[in-house]
Subunit: 268 residues, 2 copies
Protein backbone atom coordinates (compact mmCIF):
# COMPACT_ATOMS: atom_id res chain seq x y z
CA UNK A 1 0.00 0.00 0.00
CA UNK A 2 1.67 3.22 -1.15
CA UNK A 3 1.49 6.31 0.99
CA UNK A 4 1.34 9.55 -0.85
CA UNK A 5 3.92 12.31 -0.60
CA UNK A 6 2.36 14.58 1.90
CA UNK A 7 1.34 17.97 0.73
CA UNK A 8 2.49 20.08 3.62
CA UNK A 9 0.40 23.18 3.61
CA UNK A 10 2.18 26.48 4.10
CA UNK A 11 -0.87 28.36 5.08
CA UNK A 12 -0.74 31.82 6.51
CA UNK A 13 -3.80 31.60 8.65
CA UNK A 14 -5.45 34.40 6.76
CA UNK A 15 -6.93 37.61 8.04
CA UNK A 16 -9.68 37.72 5.46
CA UNK A 17 -13.16 38.52 6.56
CA UNK A 18 -16.48 37.33 5.29
CA UNK A 19 -17.73 33.86 4.48
CA UNK A 20 -16.91 34.15 0.78
CA UNK A 21 -15.13 31.50 -1.23
CA UNK A 22 -11.66 33.01 -0.86
CA UNK A 23 -11.80 32.69 2.86
CA UNK A 24 -13.28 29.21 2.65
CA UNK A 25 -10.54 28.04 0.37
CA UNK A 26 -7.90 29.03 2.87
CA UNK A 27 -9.59 27.09 5.62
CA UNK A 28 -7.44 24.14 6.56
CA UNK A 29 -8.58 20.82 7.85
CA UNK A 30 -6.78 17.83 9.19
CA UNK A 31 -7.16 14.61 7.24
CA UNK A 32 -8.32 11.85 9.56
CA UNK A 33 -6.37 9.31 7.54
CA UNK A 34 -2.88 10.75 6.99
CA UNK A 35 -3.19 13.33 9.83
CA UNK A 36 -1.82 16.08 7.57
CA UNK A 37 -3.48 19.44 7.07
CA UNK A 38 -5.13 20.15 3.76
CA UNK A 39 -6.86 23.05 2.05
CA UNK A 40 -10.53 23.07 1.23
CA UNK A 41 -9.88 22.54 -2.46
CA UNK A 42 -7.95 19.37 -1.57
CA UNK A 43 -10.84 17.96 0.46
CA UNK A 44 -11.76 14.38 -0.25
CA UNK A 45 -14.55 12.60 1.53
CA UNK A 46 -16.82 13.19 4.45
CA UNK A 47 -16.21 11.27 7.65
CA UNK A 48 -18.95 8.73 6.99
CA UNK A 49 -17.52 7.80 3.61
CA UNK A 50 -14.12 7.45 5.22
CA UNK A 51 -15.50 5.09 7.83
CA UNK A 52 -17.35 3.11 5.18
CA UNK A 53 -14.27 2.83 3.01
CA UNK A 54 -12.42 1.46 6.02
CA UNK A 55 -15.14 -1.11 6.61
CA UNK A 56 -15.11 -2.11 2.96
CA UNK A 57 -11.35 -2.57 3.13
CA UNK A 58 -11.72 -4.74 6.21
CA UNK A 59 -14.37 -6.85 4.47
CA UNK A 60 -12.16 -7.31 1.43
CA UNK A 61 -9.24 -8.32 3.64
CA UNK A 62 -11.39 -10.87 5.42
CA UNK A 63 -12.47 -12.26 2.07
CA UNK A 64 -8.81 -12.53 1.06
CA UNK A 65 -8.01 -14.42 4.25
CA UNK A 66 -10.90 -16.81 3.61
CA UNK A 67 -9.80 -17.41 0.04
CA UNK A 68 -6.20 -17.97 1.07
CA UNK A 69 -7.32 -20.58 3.59
CA UNK A 70 -9.38 -22.24 0.86
CA UNK A 71 -6.37 -22.32 -1.47
CA UNK A 72 -4.25 -23.94 1.23
CA UNK A 73 -6.99 -26.50 1.88
CA UNK A 74 -7.43 -27.37 -1.79
CA UNK A 75 -3.74 -27.46 -2.60
CA UNK A 76 -2.06 -30.86 -2.62
CA UNK A 77 1.14 -31.26 -0.67
CA UNK A 78 4.10 -29.93 -2.59
CA UNK A 79 5.27 -32.29 -5.29
CA UNK A 80 8.83 -31.77 -4.08
CA UNK A 81 7.91 -34.00 -1.22
CA UNK A 82 8.32 -37.44 -2.70
CA UNK A 83 7.42 -39.10 0.56
CA UNK A 84 4.08 -40.22 1.79
CA UNK A 85 2.17 -37.26 0.44
CA UNK A 86 2.71 -38.43 -3.10
CA UNK A 87 1.45 -41.89 -2.37
CA UNK A 88 -1.28 -43.62 -4.33
CA UNK A 89 0.07 -42.32 -7.63
CA UNK A 90 -1.13 -44.22 -10.66
CA UNK A 91 0.87 -42.67 -13.49
CA UNK A 92 4.37 -41.40 -14.19
CA UNK A 93 5.50 -38.60 -16.49
CA UNK A 94 8.84 -38.81 -18.22
CA UNK A 95 10.71 -35.93 -19.80
CA UNK A 96 12.14 -37.57 -22.87
CA UNK A 97 14.36 -34.65 -23.85
CA UNK A 98 17.15 -35.59 -21.49
CA UNK A 99 19.19 -38.43 -22.94
CA UNK A 100 20.44 -39.48 -19.50
CA UNK A 101 17.03 -40.88 -18.69
CA UNK A 102 15.69 -38.54 -16.03
CA UNK A 103 13.73 -40.02 -13.15
CA UNK A 104 10.03 -40.50 -13.85
CA UNK A 105 7.72 -38.07 -12.05
CA UNK A 106 4.90 -39.85 -10.24
CA UNK A 107 1.44 -38.31 -10.35
CA UNK A 108 -2.26 -39.03 -10.01
CA UNK A 109 -4.37 -39.45 -13.11
CA UNK A 110 -7.23 -37.77 -11.28
CA UNK A 111 -5.18 -34.61 -10.78
CA UNK A 112 -3.87 -34.48 -14.35
CA UNK A 113 -7.36 -35.05 -15.72
CA UNK A 114 -8.95 -32.36 -13.57
CA UNK A 115 -6.36 -29.74 -14.57
CA UNK A 116 -5.88 -30.37 -18.27
CA UNK A 117 -8.38 -31.25 -21.01
CA UNK A 118 -5.51 -32.79 -22.96
CA UNK A 119 -4.58 -35.18 -20.17
CA UNK A 120 -8.28 -35.84 -19.73
CA UNK A 121 -8.69 -36.94 -23.31
CA UNK A 122 -5.46 -38.92 -23.16
CA UNK A 123 -6.19 -40.78 -19.95
CA UNK A 124 -9.91 -41.33 -20.16
CA UNK A 125 -9.92 -42.68 -23.66
CA UNK A 126 -7.84 -45.74 -22.94
CA UNK A 127 -4.99 -44.55 -25.04
CA UNK A 128 -1.51 -46.02 -24.75
CA UNK A 129 -0.62 -43.64 -21.91
CA UNK A 130 -3.56 -44.73 -19.81
CA UNK A 131 -2.87 -48.43 -20.30
CA UNK A 132 0.85 -48.20 -19.63
CA UNK A 133 0.58 -45.61 -16.86
CA UNK A 134 3.44 -43.73 -18.51
CA UNK A 135 3.23 -40.35 -20.22
CA UNK A 136 6.30 -39.49 -22.24
CA UNK A 137 6.68 -35.79 -22.94
CA UNK A 138 9.18 -34.80 -25.57
CA UNK A 139 10.95 -31.48 -25.97
CA UNK A 140 10.89 -30.66 -22.34
CA UNK A 141 13.52 -30.84 -19.61
CA UNK A 142 13.06 -32.79 -16.41
CA UNK A 143 13.17 -29.56 -14.44
CA UNK A 144 10.44 -27.91 -16.49
CA UNK A 145 8.23 -30.98 -16.37
CA UNK A 146 8.63 -31.26 -12.62
CA UNK A 147 7.74 -27.59 -12.17
CA UNK A 148 4.76 -28.08 -14.48
CA UNK A 149 3.45 -31.08 -12.54
CA UNK A 150 4.04 -29.23 -9.27
CA UNK A 151 1.89 -26.39 -10.52
CA UNK A 152 -0.96 -28.76 -11.28
CA UNK A 153 -0.91 -29.79 -7.61
CA UNK A 154 -0.30 -26.45 -5.94
CA UNK A 155 -1.05 -23.57 -8.35
CA UNK A 156 2.42 -22.31 -7.50
CA UNK A 157 5.73 -22.14 -9.30
CA UNK A 158 8.94 -20.27 -8.78
CA UNK A 159 9.63 -18.58 -12.12
CA UNK A 160 12.50 -16.97 -13.96
CA UNK A 161 12.10 -15.77 -17.54
CA UNK A 162 13.27 -19.02 -19.11
CA UNK A 163 11.02 -21.14 -16.89
CA UNK A 164 8.07 -18.83 -17.56
CA UNK A 165 8.57 -19.28 -21.32
CA UNK A 166 8.98 -23.05 -21.00
CA UNK A 167 5.91 -23.38 -18.80
CA UNK A 168 3.88 -21.11 -21.06
CA UNK A 169 4.61 -23.44 -23.94
CA UNK A 170 3.63 -26.48 -21.87
CA UNK A 171 0.51 -24.81 -20.55
CA UNK A 172 -0.56 -24.01 -24.08
CA UNK A 173 0.09 -27.57 -25.24
CA UNK A 174 -1.85 -29.08 -22.33
CA UNK A 175 -4.42 -26.29 -22.15
CA UNK A 176 -3.77 -25.35 -18.55
CA UNK A 177 -5.19 -21.84 -18.79
CA UNK A 178 -4.49 -20.86 -15.22
CA UNK A 179 -0.79 -21.59 -15.60
CA UNK A 180 -0.61 -19.83 -18.94
CA UNK A 181 -2.10 -16.70 -17.44
CA UNK A 182 0.33 -16.98 -14.50
CA UNK A 183 3.31 -17.12 -16.89
CA UNK A 184 1.94 -14.30 -19.01
CA UNK A 185 1.60 -11.99 -16.03
CA UNK A 186 5.17 -12.81 -15.00
CA UNK A 187 6.56 -12.13 -18.48
CA UNK A 188 4.75 -8.78 -18.65
CA UNK A 189 6.53 -7.71 -15.46
CA UNK A 190 9.87 -8.62 -17.08
CA UNK A 191 9.22 -6.73 -20.28
CA UNK A 192 11.72 -4.07 -21.32
CA UNK A 193 12.71 -2.33 -24.52
CA UNK A 194 15.67 -4.69 -24.75
CA UNK A 195 13.61 -7.88 -24.80
CA UNK A 196 10.46 -6.47 -26.36
CA UNK A 197 10.98 -7.74 -29.90
CA UNK A 198 11.92 -11.26 -28.88
CA UNK A 199 9.09 -11.35 -26.37
CA UNK A 200 6.70 -10.06 -29.02
CA UNK A 201 7.70 -12.83 -31.43
CA UNK A 202 7.44 -15.43 -28.66
CA UNK A 203 4.01 -14.20 -27.58
CA UNK A 204 2.85 -14.27 -31.17
CA UNK A 205 3.97 -17.84 -31.62
CA UNK A 206 2.19 -19.04 -28.49
CA UNK A 207 -0.99 -16.97 -28.56
CA UNK A 208 -0.09 -15.13 -25.40
CA UNK A 209 -2.41 -12.16 -25.86
CA UNK A 210 -1.54 -10.35 -22.63
CA UNK A 211 2.20 -10.48 -23.34
CA UNK A 212 1.64 -9.64 -27.00
CA UNK A 213 -0.27 -6.45 -26.21
CA UNK A 214 2.25 -5.35 -23.61
CA UNK A 215 5.21 -6.00 -25.91
CA UNK A 216 3.50 -4.25 -28.80
CA UNK A 217 2.85 -1.23 -26.64
CA UNK A 218 6.50 -1.20 -25.54
CA UNK A 219 7.63 -1.37 -29.18
CA UNK A 220 5.26 1.22 -30.61
CA UNK A 221 6.35 3.67 -27.90
CA UNK A 222 9.92 3.43 -29.22
CA UNK A 223 9.41 3.27 -32.98
CA UNK A 224 12.31 5.63 -33.69
CA UNK A 225 14.77 3.05 -32.40
CA UNK A 226 13.05 0.03 -33.91
CA UNK A 227 14.71 -0.34 -37.31
CA UNK A 228 18.19 -0.16 -35.80
CA UNK A 229 17.64 -3.29 -33.78
CA UNK A 230 19.35 -6.48 -34.83
CA UNK A 231 16.27 -8.53 -33.93
CA UNK A 232 14.24 -6.28 -36.20
CA UNK A 233 16.35 -7.19 -39.20
CA UNK A 234 16.20 -10.86 -38.29
CA UNK A 235 12.45 -10.73 -37.92
CA UNK A 236 12.02 -8.98 -41.26
CA UNK A 237 13.86 -11.91 -42.79
CA UNK A 238 12.23 -14.68 -40.83
CA UNK A 239 8.65 -13.54 -40.30
CA UNK A 240 7.85 -10.21 -41.98
CA UNK A 241 4.17 -10.61 -41.11
CA UNK A 242 5.03 -9.88 -37.49
CA UNK A 243 6.75 -6.66 -38.51
CA UNK A 244 3.74 -5.66 -40.56
CA UNK A 245 1.56 -6.09 -37.50
CA UNK A 246 3.86 -3.80 -35.53
CA UNK A 247 3.46 -1.07 -38.17
CA UNK A 248 -0.29 -1.61 -38.25
CA UNK A 249 -0.50 -1.28 -34.46
CA UNK A 250 1.63 1.87 -34.60
CA UNK A 251 -0.53 3.41 -37.29
CA UNK A 252 -3.73 2.55 -35.45
CA UNK A 253 -2.31 4.11 -32.28
CA UNK A 254 -1.42 7.32 -34.14
CA UNK A 255 -4.90 7.55 -35.63
CA UNK A 256 -6.51 6.96 -32.21
CA UNK A 257 -4.28 9.51 -30.53
CA UNK A 258 -5.13 12.09 -33.18
CA UNK A 259 -8.86 11.37 -32.86
CA UNK A 260 -8.64 11.41 -29.06
CA UNK A 261 -6.72 14.67 -29.09
CA UNK A 262 -9.32 16.25 -31.37
CA UNK A 263 -12.35 15.18 -29.38
CA UNK A 264 -11.03 15.73 -25.85
CA UNK A 265 -9.58 19.15 -26.32
CA UNK A 266 -9.51 19.78 -22.61
CA UNK A 267 -6.46 17.58 -22.07
CA UNK A 268 -2.94 18.92 -21.87
CA UNK B 1 -21.13 -2.92 0.62
CA UNK B 2 -23.42 -0.75 2.71
CA UNK B 3 -24.04 2.86 1.81
CA UNK B 4 -24.58 5.14 4.72
CA UNK B 5 -27.74 7.10 5.37
CA UNK B 6 -26.85 10.45 3.98
CA UNK B 7 -26.59 13.27 6.37
CA UNK B 8 -28.38 15.97 4.44
CA UNK B 9 -27.08 19.24 5.71
CA UNK B 10 -29.61 21.94 6.44
CA UNK B 11 -27.17 24.75 6.32
CA UNK B 12 -28.22 28.33 6.38
CA UNK B 13 -25.30 29.74 4.44
CA UNK B 14 -24.30 31.92 7.36
CA UNK B 15 -23.71 35.63 7.41
CA UNK B 16 -20.94 35.36 9.98
CA UNK B 17 -17.77 37.32 9.42
CA UNK B 18 -14.21 36.54 10.31
CA UNK B 19 -12.09 33.48 9.82
CA UNK B 20 -12.75 32.17 13.32
CA UNK B 21 -13.78 28.63 14.06
CA UNK B 22 -17.52 29.36 14.05
CA UNK B 23 -17.40 30.49 10.49
CA UNK B 24 -15.14 27.64 9.48
CA UNK B 25 -17.43 25.08 11.00
CA UNK B 26 -20.33 26.29 8.91
CA UNK B 27 -18.35 25.99 5.71
CA UNK B 28 -19.81 23.18 3.64
CA UNK B 29 -17.97 20.94 1.23
CA UNK B 30 -19.07 18.32 -1.16
CA UNK B 31 -17.84 14.79 -0.52
CA UNK B 32 -16.18 13.44 -3.65
CA UNK B 33 -17.37 9.95 -2.80
CA UNK B 34 -21.08 10.22 -1.91
CA UNK B 35 -21.52 13.67 -3.56
CA UNK B 36 -23.38 14.99 -0.51
CA UNK B 37 -22.54 18.22 1.25
CA UNK B 38 -20.96 18.03 4.66
CA UNK B 39 -19.90 20.42 7.39
CA UNK B 40 -16.29 21.02 8.29
CA UNK B 41 -16.62 19.03 11.51
CA UNK B 42 -17.79 16.05 9.44
CA UNK B 43 -14.76 16.20 7.18
CA UNK B 44 -12.99 12.91 6.54
CA UNK B 45 -9.95 12.63 4.37
CA UNK B 46 -7.98 14.76 1.97
CA UNK B 47 -8.28 14.05 -1.72
CA UNK B 48 -4.99 12.17 -1.91
CA UNK B 49 -5.99 9.75 0.81
CA UNK B 50 -9.30 9.24 -0.96
CA UNK B 51 -7.51 8.40 -4.20
CA UNK B 52 -5.13 6.08 -2.36
CA UNK B 53 -7.96 4.31 -0.60
CA UNK B 54 -9.58 3.75 -3.98
CA UNK B 55 -6.35 2.30 -5.36
CA UNK B 56 -5.99 0.04 -2.34
CA UNK B 57 -9.53 -1.18 -2.84
CA UNK B 58 -8.79 -1.94 -6.49
CA UNK B 59 -5.65 -3.86 -5.52
CA UNK B 60 -7.55 -5.90 -2.97
CA UNK B 61 -10.25 -6.68 -5.51
CA UNK B 62 -7.65 -7.82 -8.01
CA UNK B 63 -6.13 -10.05 -5.37
CA UNK B 64 -9.57 -11.51 -4.68
CA UNK B 65 -10.07 -12.24 -8.38
CA UNK B 66 -6.68 -13.96 -8.53
CA UNK B 67 -7.46 -16.06 -5.49
CA UNK B 68 -10.89 -17.02 -6.81
CA UNK B 69 -9.31 -18.19 -10.06
CA UNK B 70 -6.81 -20.21 -8.04
CA UNK B 71 -9.59 -21.84 -6.04
CA UNK B 72 -11.41 -22.79 -9.23
CA UNK B 73 -8.19 -24.23 -10.66
CA UNK B 74 -7.40 -26.26 -7.55
CA UNK B 75 -10.93 -27.49 -7.00
CA UNK B 76 -11.78 -30.93 -8.31
CA UNK B 77 -14.89 -31.33 -10.43
CA UNK B 78 -18.00 -31.52 -8.31
CA UNK B 79 -18.48 -34.90 -6.70
CA UNK B 80 -22.11 -34.81 -7.77
CA UNK B 81 -20.80 -35.56 -11.21
CA UNK B 82 -20.37 -39.31 -11.10
CA UNK B 83 -19.24 -39.42 -14.69
CA UNK B 84 -15.80 -39.16 -16.14
CA UNK B 85 -14.54 -36.55 -13.71
CA UNK B 86 -14.66 -39.02 -10.86
CA UNK B 87 -12.70 -41.61 -12.73
CA UNK B 88 -9.55 -43.25 -11.43
CA UNK B 89 -11.03 -43.59 -7.95
CA UNK B 90 -9.29 -46.14 -5.76
CA UNK B 91 -11.46 -46.24 -2.66
CA UNK B 92 -15.14 -46.14 -1.70
CA UNK B 93 -16.78 -44.72 1.39
CA UNK B 94 -19.91 -46.32 2.77
CA UNK B 95 -22.32 -44.72 5.21
CA UNK B 96 -23.21 -47.65 7.40
CA UNK B 97 -25.97 -45.89 9.28
CA UNK B 98 -28.57 -46.50 6.59
CA UNK B 99 -29.89 -50.03 6.83
CA UNK B 100 -31.00 -50.03 3.21
CA UNK B 101 -27.41 -50.20 2.07
CA UNK B 102 -26.73 -46.82 0.53
CA UNK B 103 -24.61 -46.67 -2.62
CA UNK B 104 -20.87 -46.50 -1.96
CA UNK B 105 -19.25 -43.13 -2.63
CA UNK B 106 -16.16 -43.44 -4.83
CA UNK B 107 -13.16 -41.28 -4.01
CA UNK B 108 -9.41 -40.96 -4.41
CA UNK B 109 -7.13 -42.00 -1.60
CA UNK B 110 -4.80 -39.16 -2.57
CA UNK B 111 -7.55 -36.60 -1.95
CA UNK B 112 -8.70 -38.09 1.34
CA UNK B 113 -5.10 -38.32 2.56
CA UNK B 114 -4.27 -34.75 1.63
CA UNK B 115 -7.35 -33.34 3.40
CA UNK B 116 -7.52 -35.36 6.60
CA UNK B 117 -4.76 -36.59 8.93
CA UNK B 118 -7.12 -39.36 10.05
CA UNK B 119 -7.60 -40.69 6.52
CA UNK B 120 -3.87 -40.28 6.05
CA UNK B 121 -3.07 -42.52 8.99
CA UNK B 122 -5.76 -44.96 7.98
CA UNK B 123 -4.76 -45.29 4.33
CA UNK B 124 -1.00 -45.02 4.49
CA UNK B 125 -0.53 -47.54 7.24
CA UNK B 126 -1.90 -50.49 5.34
CA UNK B 127 -4.87 -50.83 7.60
CA UNK B 128 -7.91 -52.86 6.66
CA UNK B 129 -9.45 -49.86 4.86
CA UNK B 130 -6.43 -49.41 2.62
CA UNK B 131 -6.22 -53.08 1.69
CA UNK B 132 -9.92 -53.48 1.00
CA UNK B 133 -10.37 -50.08 -0.61
CA UNK B 134 -13.51 -49.63 1.48
CA UNK B 135 -14.01 -47.17 4.31
CA UNK B 136 -17.11 -47.82 6.39
CA UNK B 137 -18.30 -44.85 8.37
CA UNK B 138 -20.84 -45.47 11.07
CA UNK B 139 -23.29 -43.03 12.58
CA UNK B 140 -23.59 -40.93 9.49
CA UNK B 141 -26.23 -40.70 6.79
CA UNK B 142 -25.47 -41.18 3.12
CA UNK B 143 -26.39 -37.58 2.46
CA UNK B 144 -24.03 -36.21 5.10
CA UNK B 145 -21.19 -38.45 3.96
CA UNK B 146 -21.67 -37.41 0.36
CA UNK B 147 -21.65 -33.73 1.32
CA UNK B 148 -18.54 -34.34 3.43
CA UNK B 149 -16.67 -36.04 0.59
CA UNK B 150 -17.79 -33.31 -1.80
CA UNK B 151 -16.30 -30.71 0.50
CA UNK B 152 -12.96 -32.49 0.48
CA UNK B 153 -12.92 -32.07 -3.31
CA UNK B 154 -14.37 -28.59 -3.68
CA UNK B 155 -14.20 -26.72 -0.34
CA UNK B 156 -17.89 -26.04 -0.85
CA UNK B 157 -21.07 -27.28 0.75
CA UNK B 158 -24.64 -26.15 0.80
CA UNK B 159 -25.57 -26.01 4.48
CA UNK B 160 -28.62 -25.89 6.65
CA UNK B 161 -28.36 -26.02 10.43
CA UNK B 162 -28.70 -29.79 10.66
CA UNK B 163 -26.12 -30.38 7.93
CA UNK B 164 -23.74 -27.86 9.53
CA UNK B 165 -23.97 -29.77 12.83
CA UNK B 166 -23.52 -33.15 11.14
CA UNK B 167 -20.54 -31.94 9.12
CA UNK B 168 -19.00 -30.26 12.13
CA UNK B 169 -19.07 -33.61 13.93
CA UNK B 170 -17.50 -35.36 10.92
CA UNK B 171 -14.90 -32.65 10.45
CA UNK B 172 -13.90 -32.98 14.08
CA UNK B 173 -13.67 -36.76 13.82
CA UNK B 174 -11.55 -36.62 10.66
CA UNK B 175 -9.68 -33.45 11.63
CA UNK B 176 -10.70 -31.43 8.61
CA UNK B 177 -10.12 -28.03 10.18
CA UNK B 178 -11.17 -25.99 7.18
CA UNK B 179 -14.60 -27.63 7.10
CA UNK B 180 -15.02 -27.31 10.85
CA UNK B 181 -14.34 -23.59 10.65
CA UNK B 182 -16.77 -23.32 7.71
CA UNK B 183 -19.54 -25.00 9.74
CA UNK B 184 -18.76 -22.93 12.81
CA UNK B 185 -19.08 -19.67 10.90
CA UNK B 186 -22.40 -20.83 9.48
CA UNK B 187 -23.77 -21.82 12.90
CA UNK B 188 -22.76 -18.45 14.35
CA UNK B 189 -24.88 -16.70 11.70
CA UNK B 190 -27.85 -18.88 12.71
CA UNK B 191 -27.49 -18.21 16.41
CA UNK B 192 -30.49 -16.75 18.24
CA UNK B 193 -31.74 -16.58 21.78
CA UNK B 194 -34.06 -19.47 21.00
CA UNK B 195 -31.34 -21.90 19.98
CA UNK B 196 -28.52 -20.48 22.09
CA UNK B 197 -28.60 -23.03 24.90
CA UNK B 198 -28.75 -26.05 22.63
CA UNK B 199 -26.07 -24.56 20.39
CA UNK B 200 -23.95 -23.84 23.44
CA UNK B 201 -24.20 -27.45 24.62
CA UNK B 202 -23.44 -28.72 21.11
CA UNK B 203 -20.43 -26.44 20.72
CA UNK B 204 -19.15 -27.55 24.09
CA UNK B 205 -19.40 -31.20 23.16
CA UNK B 206 -17.51 -30.73 19.89
CA UNK B 207 -14.89 -28.16 20.85
CA UNK B 208 -16.33 -25.54 18.55
CA UNK B 209 -14.74 -22.50 20.18
CA UNK B 210 -16.14 -19.90 17.78
CA UNK B 211 -19.70 -21.13 18.24
CA UNK B 212 -19.21 -21.58 21.96
CA UNK B 213 -18.11 -17.99 22.48
CA UNK B 214 -20.92 -16.60 20.34
CA UNK B 215 -23.55 -18.71 22.10
CA UNK B 216 -22.18 -17.81 25.51
CA UNK B 217 -22.31 -14.15 24.62
CA UNK B 218 -25.92 -14.54 23.46
CA UNK B 219 -26.83 -16.28 26.71
CA UNK B 220 -25.05 -13.92 29.09
CA UNK B 221 -26.78 -10.98 27.42
CA UNK B 222 -30.13 -12.47 28.40
CA UNK B 223 -29.48 -13.89 31.85
CA UNK B 224 -32.80 -12.66 33.23
CA UNK B 225 -34.66 -15.09 30.96
CA UNK B 226 -32.24 -17.98 31.36
CA UNK B 227 -33.63 -19.92 34.28
CA UNK B 228 -37.12 -19.99 32.79
CA UNK B 229 -35.96 -21.97 29.78
CA UNK B 230 -36.84 -25.63 29.54
CA UNK B 231 -33.41 -26.44 28.09
CA UNK B 232 -31.87 -24.78 31.13
CA UNK B 233 -33.59 -27.17 33.48
CA UNK B 234 -32.64 -30.11 31.30
CA UNK B 235 -29.02 -29.02 31.19
CA UNK B 236 -28.89 -28.57 34.97
CA UNK B 237 -29.95 -32.20 35.23
CA UNK B 238 -27.79 -33.58 32.47
CA UNK B 239 -24.60 -31.56 32.57
CA UNK B 240 -24.53 -29.00 35.36
CA UNK B 241 -20.88 -28.19 34.62
CA UNK B 242 -22.03 -26.39 31.48
CA UNK B 243 -24.41 -24.26 33.51
CA UNK B 244 -21.64 -23.43 35.94
CA UNK B 245 -19.53 -22.20 33.02
CA UNK B 246 -22.35 -19.92 31.93
CA UNK B 247 -22.49 -18.34 35.37
CA UNK B 248 -18.73 -18.02 35.45
CA UNK B 249 -18.74 -16.28 32.07
CA UNK B 250 -21.52 -13.98 33.23
CA UNK B 251 -19.68 -13.09 36.41
CA UNK B 252 -16.44 -12.45 34.54
CA UNK B 253 -18.31 -10.21 32.09
CA UNK B 254 -19.82 -8.21 34.94
CA UNK B 255 -16.45 -7.75 36.58
CA UNK B 256 -14.89 -6.67 33.29
CA UNK B 257 -17.71 -4.25 32.55
CA UNK B 258 -17.37 -2.71 35.98
CA UNK B 259 -13.60 -2.41 35.59
CA UNK B 260 -13.97 -1.00 32.06
CA UNK B 261 -16.58 1.49 33.24
CA UNK B 262 -14.32 2.67 36.04
CA UNK B 263 -11.20 3.13 33.91
CA UNK B 264 -12.76 4.64 30.80
CA UNK B 265 -14.93 7.22 32.43
CA UNK B 266 -15.32 9.15 29.21
CA UNK B 267 -17.81 6.67 27.73
CA UNK B 268 -21.53 7.18 27.89
Amino acid sequence: MRRHQHHRCNISSGSETGSGSDSDNNTTMRCISCREEYLRRDAGTCKECYVEAGETEEELKREIEDLKAKVIFLRFPSCLDHGSSRSFTDVVLIASQDAAGPPPIPAHKAVLVSRSPVFKAMLENEMEESRSGTIKISDVSYNTLRTFVCYLYTAEASLDEQMACDLLIMSEKYQVKHLKSYCEKFLVTKLSWDNSLLTYAFAHQHNAKLVLDAALSQITNNMDKLTKREEYLELVEKDPRLIVEIYEAYLSKQVNTAAGGASTSKTG
